[in-house]
């Protein structure tokens, strides 16, 4: 419902951003196809789906083997790869996914569970981590060079230099091994979503199991975002328009919030959109250590078995996620920063 009113030309936001999004979407499709194709080729060459199948199902009949080859489009030769890829793509889009090589299980149900587990973990950790991180960043940017600034900076630096599995290992050491030795009980469990044998939905128990993995991820996230916010805010605070804002005689709070923070958040929002995707990915390692059945474990198991029918949907899911998040980042940047328009 757009009326072209000659007196008020609505330029800027609505139309420009829409066109921008459409153009990006237009490119996103071929890129997704290109990347998933490359992945398809890499996996087929690298993990040798047929050999893996034979390894797992050693007593499979010839008929079953042939069935496997056909369902997964494992044709040889260059043309065969192309054909196989499109066959896979068709199956993927229509929801008819080939079954796993282990016991011919359906891929989707396990994938769905894993996905929810990971999302729960990732989103919780992201939310907590980003909030704390941004807060810390603001806190120290207001007094650069002070003691609290150095402390937070160094802490963040150490956290960023510590691979997540190191913190995970150390946390596990403390809580899994020593806590029970010292205190006799297990405060925070270190594996799984629920203790083995648990049925149904139990919130407190689930939360207890999430504490340690979430902490590991939160450490990383806080460190990264605190540094982002500090850098961004410092750069803004040193900008000339801050001086103009102060020269207006408005309250310092208003200066900080409406001018400094607002402008400092722009680059962070765009990075956050991409970063959340990275956080979800980095969970792989954490999940492995805490035996948390999420997408990370899903992939590692699949990779270890050479389970092609399980790996492809996983890769496709991630490709789409990554591209979508990239798009989101670009769009939000265009929306928030009026200097970036119509590309």
């Amino acid at each position: 419902m757009r009326t072209t009113n000659r007196h008020v030309r609505r330029r800027g936001k609505g139309v420009g951003v829409l066109r921008f999004v459409l153009r990006r979407l237009f490119w996103a499709v071929p890129i997704t196809i290109l990347v998933t194709f490359l992945v398809y080729v890499a996996l087929r060459l690298g993990t040798d789906p047929l050999a893996s199948y034979l390894r797992i199902n050693q007593r499979a009949s010839d008929k079953k083997i042939q069935q496997y080859i056909e369902t997964n489009g494992l044709y040889e030769g260059f043309g065969g790869y192309i054909r196989g890829y499109f066959q896979w793509l068709g199956g993927f889009l229509t929801g008819e996914w080939p079954r796993s090589i282990k016991g011919s299980r359906e891929v989707w149900p396990e994938f769905k569970d894993a996905m929810f587990n990971t999302l729960r973990l990732g989103l919780t950790a992201s939310f907590i981590g980003i909030t704390i991180g941004l807060g810390l960043g603001i806190f120290v940017a207001l007094k650069p060079g002070s003691l609290r600034d150095s402390t937070v900076n160094t802490g963040a630096f150490v956290a960023v230099s510590t691979p997540p599995y190191v913190s995970a290992l150390l946390l596990q050491l403390v809580f899994a091994v020593y806590w029970s030795r010292w205190f006799g009980n297990t405060l925070f469990p270190t594996s799984g979503v629920y203790p083995p044998g648990n049925q149904g939905f139990d919130l407190p128990l689930m939360l207890k199991h999430m504490v340690l993995p979430v902490t590991v991820v939160v450490i990383q996230v806080v460190a990264v975002y605190a540094r982002y916010m500090r850098a961004s805010l410092l750069e803004v605070l040193n900008s000339e328009y801050m001086r103009t804002a102060r020269a207006k005689g408005i309250s310092e709070r208003r200066v900080l919030v409406r001018h400094a923070l607002r402008n400092a958040l722009i680059p962070i929002v765009t990075v956050a959109a991409i970063d959340i995707g990275a956080i979800l990915g980095g969970l792989i390692i954490t999940e492995n250590i805490f035996s948390y059945p999420g997408l990370g474990m899903f992939f590692l198991d699949a990779y270890g078995n050479g389970d092609f029918p399980q790996m492809m949907p996983w890769m496709a899911f991630f490709t789409v996620t990554v591209i979508l998040f990239n798009l989101l980042a670009d769009v939000s940047y265009a929306w928030l920063d009026p200097r970036i328009r119509l590309d």
Binding site: A247, G249, D337, R339
Partner: protein
Amino acid sequence: MSSEVVLSLRDFRVTFNTMNGPVQAVRGVDLDVHAGEMVGVVGESGSGKSVTFLGLMGLLPKSAKVEGSGTVRGTEIVGATSKQLRSIRGKRVAMIFQDPLSALNPTHRIGTQIVEMIQAHQDLSKAAAMKRAIELLDIVGIPQPDQRARQYPHEFSGGMRQRVMIAMAIANDPEVLIADEPTTALDVTVQAQILEVLQRIQRDLGTAIVLITHDLGVVARVADRVQVMYAGRPVERATVDNIFQHSAHPYTQGLMASLPSTSGERLIPIPGSPPNMLNPPPGCAFAPRCVHALAKCTVGDPPPLVLVGTNETACVRAHELAAELAGEVVGNV
């Protein structure tokens, strides 16, 4: 132009605490700005002309120490609380800066930025403030102000942006408008337009204007009085005609001589460079570069401004040099 003083500086000093030690950027400025007059403050980079007024407005970083007295119609600003400062900034004393692109917030619309200025000091609704903002844009000569108000700074040209800054500055009808090198970043033709806007403001609204610049041509065009600064101190002060027709301080004279003229005379630059403000030399700071310097110029405190004929000048030899010029015999040294 009345003789009522709206802005008064007395022994105004600014010192910066830097890694290498204290830097005396401003070493004692006295100035009176009268209602409705345009005072040009002239000097090269490092003379302290901008720092003086930034310090007055409290816009310098925390490493800067401001001392002395700066009053707006009797209200002392130096040492004022932040609350007092805020009631003065934007309302009684407004400031515009050199580079309007970086001085305006790139993510806020122009209209919004002016409205913010208005609502900071006047009790108006958003709609009323926006209406006033559009009027202001019109006053400074921006065409189609109602549409332009919805645009962002990067959609304006340099000259337009500076007009926007001026509009914002006069929003609350301040008594003094401090313009810090407003034309330096602009083309020559646009410079003239901006100066014309400033003059109109001076005339129609009665605002006193402090025009800080390094460009003598700008000052010649629009200022009523001129104060020349060097090494953190004023060295000469007079009406614009008197400065240009017979300047009394060797530095000012040097400046005039280094201006290209249409008669095609050779440019005579002033030899040397300005002093290091970490360790300002004793006596007159210009002495090392001055052709008339004698031993007595380099000792003691920096010379104060003294009236010599029609100009106030900070040169201990001013009288002697004037007499020399008049052809009389020079007395003792």
